[in-house]
Symmetry: C2
Subunit: 176 residues, 2 copies
């Protein structure tokens, strides 16, 4: 087992989110739960050359650090359910490394600022990567979606709550 595989990985934020959401509770739990909700990405000046030609894409995959989430759990009761699941079988934010994935619709670019719709992110969320969404790479059709099967249609109604916060009860396994 070599050191590379277990060594910590250090990421530098390339930008941050601007959003009307300033508290982790009461937010949309997926971008498809709030497809018209606006937000913007501020890409820091030193990374702005990386945006060249991004205007040609409808959708972007935004990878973030869910900095406001304070727990990293291995089993979690997700917002859409009342039963615990392994965190890697959920999209819960309170996960090891707290990496978020939000697919947003790019509305327009203004220099280093990308205005988008479909926002489930907190104001100030650090961004670690932006990738263009390409259906040929990113679309998979399947009905095998585990415990989501009976729950997924609630995504537009359910908002986040306090269960990912430090004081939450439940059959969770804090990691560290």
């Amino acid at each position: 087992m070599n050191t590379t595989e277990h060594s910590p990985i250090v990421c530098r934020p390339i930008g941050r989110i601007h959003s009307r959401f300033t508290a982790a509770e009461g937010m949309p739990i997926q971008t498809t739960g709030a497809p018209a909700e606006p937000g913007s990405i501020e890409v820091y000046p030193e990374f702005e050359p990386g945006l060249r030609d991004i205007e040609g894409f409808d959708y972007l995959i935004v990878l973030t650090h869910l900095h406001a989430v304070q727990r990293e759990m291995l089993e979690v009761v997700p917002f859409l359910d009342n039963q615990p699941h392994g965190v890697f079988a959920t999209r819960a934010p309170a996960r090891p490394n707290r990496i978020g994935l939000s697919i947003v619709r790019l509305v327009r670019r203004e220099g280093g600022v990308l205005h988008f719709e479909g926002n489930d992110m907190l104001d100030g969320t650090p961004i670690i990567d932006i990738k263009p969404y390409v259906p040929r790479f990113d679309v998979r059709e399947t009905t095998r979606i585990g415990w989501f099967e009976a729950k997924v249609d609630r995504v537009g109604q359910v908002l986040s709550d306090a269960r990912m916060s430090p004081a939450a009860d439940g059959p969770n396994t804090p990691r560290g």
Copy 2:
């Protein structure tokens, strides 16, 4: 500007990839370019409880650290093209933070090992997150795919080459 937004983010690998690919050149450039290519995810024992119920899903989103890529560029000539683009308008591996996204088909689970098909990853690649693929969250239909429009159908033919390696020439901007 507070420190959280610019502070480095430290991730711990939750596991690693086992793959027949041991060099970064000559590999598939997307999982849809090699849908039958097998691989496996070894989840480290301390994270194995996080896999509970993952068997119910057909597809997983695997976020990785592209540890073998040595450059982080802002403009890059991607494998599918001969023109430079901003790296955030490409899926090139030589990007800030070198985070990879691979959507794989889960074939079976054996304890902490997830056997999958659709493999574009190098042996030993550290994994920082696994999320279940849920079409209601992750599918977007669009034909606005920028420079990919004329190139995307080559994904099954084109393999990676040396252009992301330290000695590569071209209009690239090494980041530092």
